[in-house]
């Protein structure tokens, strides 16, 4: 919402300087977004007279003018405007002036060999309009040497405020003035809403056939002349960014910006018979005043005439067919109320933004239909002449009186600041509330323009707002006795731990979009239709991600394209199974690409492989408190992994994590070059370690006897999983065997084709005595027997 300081002062009697007013507006909740001191920008421009204008010796289209600027002798200016001629009064800029339209600083220059010591300006150059066909010609009487801005009353400030949706009453200058007056910045000047008597009976009647329009006033004014509006009105509208059109249209815009009272004016000659406000029928069309043709859906509030044609969209925009023009003589002025939801629906359906829609959809003051048409009539008669008929009012002013009560102590209890009761009363009264005191309560009826005030909390806000939020003393939150409790849940804590663990393993934490392209989702198992956004912002961000890996893999590709092919990224974030509350999983996922060990003098490099991802997954699980010793590896990772180089880490039937190389087909579809390994750890399904009351750890049992280790080499069929041998060995003697390390895997000469050799180191920890050779041999035999039984492996000879 834009307005000028001078416009504000027509509603507010005040001596307050600009900065006091703007500070107060912000503290009232009418946040000032910008102040443009137009007077400042136009200060260098003075009124001057062209004494002579001769053709430029070296250019046909240029003139050399001698200009009287009111100070000293004539000044020579080279000018290209076709209307530059002796005798006209013009706007002159001397060297050093900054041209508002371009921001350029004017310099003394030579144009085609003739010196020019200034410039004669067009309206466009001064940002006054788009007019650039010639330089500004001022009336004869404009005083030479005087400030152009002061003479044209442009030495003003344009203030722009940002309005919250509840304060439509301040979408007009009068409402802004009222708030300032309540905050003691000045005195509100009353409006003249006195009725203008009608001199003939209302010739046009209105029928209301839709609940979307509770009240509609129409008035015919005959014999008007609709030329350009006077300069003061044009300047006002221009200053706030509106284009002056004609006196009648400008009056409706003035009422909108000044009073939050949108109006419409029909050319009565183009309207047939009486008006009907009704719901639109599907397929009806309207050529609107913005020049666009609209096909209407059913159920929008429209105004039609006796022909049945739609003339206008209620509360949104009028139609071209009945619009006023220079030849209009008789008009129908419309002042009406439209249901906010209906106006919003129409605006959204047809994608029309208008000043009327903005106000109606937020709720126009329901008490301004009749008073608004009287004000508009007065302006029309004043600016366009003519005679007014009687007002025809269809419907009735909706009830808007809501008696509310405020317990004066409530202001301190909710607001934390004591405001004397008398001040509370004064503030509410100044804002237009009908107030009284009874039984220790303030009774307040909000004014018709404050539909946003619905209860006691709103009254408290009004009092606090005007009293000033700054006056509320800052108070620390009361603290519990003793120390604060733990802020995070065990799950939140382990999530944070996993994050820092993965970063500690050399991975960079990324945060990527929760959504992705449906084709990409398909590569990662796909997402059900219920996860597809109905209104995605782009095709690439159209469906919720079924896996965190997709966007990470894509990020790895982007980094590779920038020349960073070796990297490790992870993300802790959501993956989605379905659209329900339980369909979202918290996943720690990561990718490693390129070289696992960078080129270095000390040792060879190697590319990343599935075991890197496995190590990440196990470390993350360990950090999350999962019982990693009990994990079982299965080779059934989903299809986006390499079928032969991937696995799942399970605890019983539950998959806690997956890891492996990404499937080459997935890499190809994502335009990635491998190798790229990945893991996904499902943080939600990791069991919480059981707490047995205390914080003590189990007792440390230390054996007095040295552990011994024995190495075994087994030959086993190549496809047997190594983990099975390890498990069998571990289980051979649970009392004595405390560890089994797999330290070699070999295939090649010396081992039959289709077989592999696996070497295990088994650690025995004696408990109560040193083991004899016989006892050791007995355990070794058990190990061999158990491994052979479980896997068919034989001890290598």
């Amino acid at each position: 919402m834009k307005f000028t300081l001078s416009w504000l002062k027509q509603h507010l009697e005040t001596d307050a300087p600009l900065d006091v007013i703007t500070d107060k507006l912000t503290s009232l909740g009418l946040e000032v977004e910008g102040v443009e001191d137009t007077g400042k920008a136009l200060a260098p421009f003075v009124i001057a007279k062209v004494l002579s204008a001769e053709k430029h010796p070296n250019a046909d289209k240029l003139r050399v003018a001698m200009v009287d600027t009111g100070t000293g002798g004539p000044i020579q200016v080279v000018c290209g405007a076709p209307n530059c001629r002796a005798g006209i009064t013009v706007v002159f800029a001397s060297p050093g002036a900054v041209i508002p339209a371009t921001g350029d600083t004017l310099k003394v220059g030579a144009i085609r060999g003739v010196e020019s010591r200034g410039m004669l300006c067009s309206e466009r150059e001064l940002n006054l309009s788009d007019e650039h066909n010639g330089i500004i010609e001022l009336p004869e009487e404009a005083p030479v040497g005087a400030s152009f801005a002061a003479w044209r009353k442009l030495d003003d400030a344009v203030i722009e405020i940002s309005l919250t949706p509840d304060r439509v009453d301040c979408a007009g200058v009068h409402g802004i003035a009222r708030d300032l007056a309540a905050a003691d910045v000045g005195t509100l000047r009353p409006l003249n809403t006195a009725p203008v008597p009608g001199v003939f009976p209302a010739p046009v009647k209105v029928a209301l056939e839709t609940a979307a329009c509770p009240q509609f006033a129409a008035r015919v004014v005959r014999g008007v002349r609709n030329g350009p509006s006077p300069q003061w009105l044009q300047d006002k509208l221009t200053a706030v960014g509106l284009r002056p059109i004609s006196a009648l249209v400008d009056i409706t815009n003035l009422m909108t910006m000044d009073q939050v009272r949108p109006l419409h004016v029909f050319d009565a000659a183009k309207v047939r018979g009486d008006l009907t406000v009704r719901d639109s029928k599907a397929g009806e069309t309207l050529l609107a005043l913005n020049g666009k043709e609209y096909t209407l859906p059913a159920g929008l509030a429209v105004i039609a005439d006796a022909s049945g044609a739609v003339l206008s969209l209620g509360g949104v925009m009028g139609g071209e067919s009945t619009g006023v023009s220079e030849t209009t003589t008789d008009v129908i002025i419309e002042a009406a109320l439209f249901e906010p939801a209906k106006v919003a629906e129409a605006g959204r359906a047809l994608q029309i933004d208008s000043d009327a829609r903005y106000r109606f959809e937020r709720g126009v003051d329901p008490a301004t239909v009749v008073s608004g048409i009287e004000q508009a009539t007065r302006l029309v008669l004043e600016l366009c002449g003519g005679e007014a008929g009687e007002v025809f009012v269809a419907g009735a002013e909706p009830a808007w009186r809501r008696p509310l009560t405020l317990r004066p102590a409530r202001v301190a209890h909710l607001g934390g600041v004591d405001v004397p009761e008398a001040d509370q009363l004064r503030i509410l009264t100044a804002l237009g509330f009908e107030t009284s005191r009874k039984d220790g309560l303030i009774h307040a009826v909000p004014p018709s323009w404050r539909a946003d005030v619905q209860g006691e909390a709103d009254l408290v806000e009004e009092v606090l707002r005007i009293h000033g939020f700054d006056a509320i003393p800052t108070t620390s939150l009361p603290r519990d006795e003793g120390l604060p409790k733990v802020a995070v849940t065990p799950k939140q804590r382990r999530t944070a731990t996993v994050r820092r663990l993965l970063a500690g393993r050399g991975m960079l934490e990324a945060i990527t979009w929760s959504f992705l392209a449906p084709e990409t989702a398909k590569l990662f198992g796909g997402a059900p239709e219920e996860l597809a956004l109905l209104n995605p912002i782009s095709a690439d961000l159209a469906i919720m991600r079924p896996s965190v890996l997709a966007n990470l893999a894509a990020a790895a590709g982007r980094n590779a394209a920038r020349g960073y092919a070796d990297l490790a990224l992870f993300e802790v974030g959501p993956a989605f199974r379905d659209g329900s509350e339980k369909g979202q999983d918290l996943v720690a996922a990561g990718v490693r690409a390129g070289l696992a060990v960078a080129r270095h003098w000390a040792k060879g490099t190697r590319p990343v492989d599935a075991y890197d991802a496995k190590a990440d997954a196990i470390a993350a699980l360990e950090a999350a408190g999962a019982p990693t010793a009990n994990l079982v590896v299965s080779t059934d990772a989903p299809g986006w992994y390499h079928p032969g180089r991937s696995g799942c880490l399970r605890l019983g039937p539950t998959v806690l994590a997956r890891f492996g190389e990404l499937h080459p087909a997935v890499l190809e579809a994502l335009d990635l070059t491998g190798p790229l390994v990945a893991f996904e750890v499902f943080l939600d399904v990791i069991p919480q370690p059981k707490k047995k009351g205390g914080t003590e750890k189990p007792k440390l049992e230390l054996s007095a006897f040295q552990p011994i280790s024995r190495d075994f080499a087994f030959v086993v069929e190549a496809e047997v999983e190594a983990d099975r041998l390890v498990r069998a060995a571990k289980g051979a003697d649970k009392a004595l065997i405390t560890g089994v390390q797999l330290f070699d895997v070999y295939q090649g000469p010396g081992v039959e084709t289709g077989f592999k050799s696996i070497a295990l180191s088994v650690t025995l920890q004696p408990v109560d005595k040193t083991l004899t050779d016989v006892e050791i041999e007995a355990v070794a035999a058990k190990v061999v027997a158990a491994v052979t039984k479980a896997t068919g492996a034989v001890l290598r000879g």
Partner: protein
Amino acid sequence: MNILDSLKADLLAAAAAAPDLAALEEVRVDALGKKGRITGLMKDMGSLTPDERRERGQALNAVKEEISLALDARRQVLKAEALAQKLEAERIDVSLPARPEVEGRVHPISQTVEEMIAIFADMGFTVAEGPDIETDFNNFTALNIPPEHPARQMHDTFYLPNGPDGDTRVLRTHTSPVQIRTMLAGEPPIRIIAPGRTYRSDYDQTHTPMFHQIEGLVIGENIHMGHLKGTLLEFCRAFFQVDDLPLRFRPSFFPFTEPSAEVDIGCSRKGGELKLGNHGDWLEILGCGMVHPKVLENCGIDSTRWQGFAFGMGIERVAMLKYGIPDLRTFFEADLRWLKHYGFVPLDVPSLAQGLTR
């Protein structure tokens, strides 16, 4: 010079001249070994009288002692020389780079959230959560935003197909639905924060379709707007680490709070450079207010007894301010260079005890 003296002189000279430990050992064997020259003289003493034998024995022992000492001394010297030679041979180029270790980083959003948790935890808040896909009821209706309310247009909502019960599903446009979930699930008093992902259909230089917010909710019997001001003042000063950072509360509008306010922090923009502090200019950072009685009632909380405040803050925005990160969109690009530069060392866990930021 008797034979003993000349033997001694001989052996001492040989010990001193031994070039290495092997040669020295030969000298030792020659002198003191089983067939050594001194050992031989000792053996010869059998033919002497007891008096002669004593005298001779003493003399021989003295020589033996002297030779032993000389041999030991020479051995130490030779050992030291040999070690020095070995170490010299083992010399490496210590200017070679150490073996590579890749260091990871924690994303600035995660770090910022943990900083916020550290501060609010100290004020007695706990951390609450909610899903990213929300019901229209939790995201809007319960927050006093009815379907036709213009405020719904302030949120550029992403919609999903309806759930099986016909409930409208949205990607939450703010973390405020966690307020609703918390109040529906528990009884006051309440003191929670809720950080998380939020979504709005907007993508330009200052908006991304996904971003992060942190919500705060405090409900009690006597919680008033002064507490709201105090909580946010203490938070902002601790978080931005500016002791005299001023806050400005401006009246604003949110359907779920009444009164509502927007909060600015003090700053300076002189010379195009943003600096936080008491410098006369202002920068908006968050919205807040006293929880609307209708919101309390929507959650089954008696609004005549309980009241409190709520606030919501953009996490990227305050992270950008605190850490001088210039562009919002870069947060989600996963650019390795950016993550390394703006990310945090994994062991730098924020805490009030040890300082929020190193």
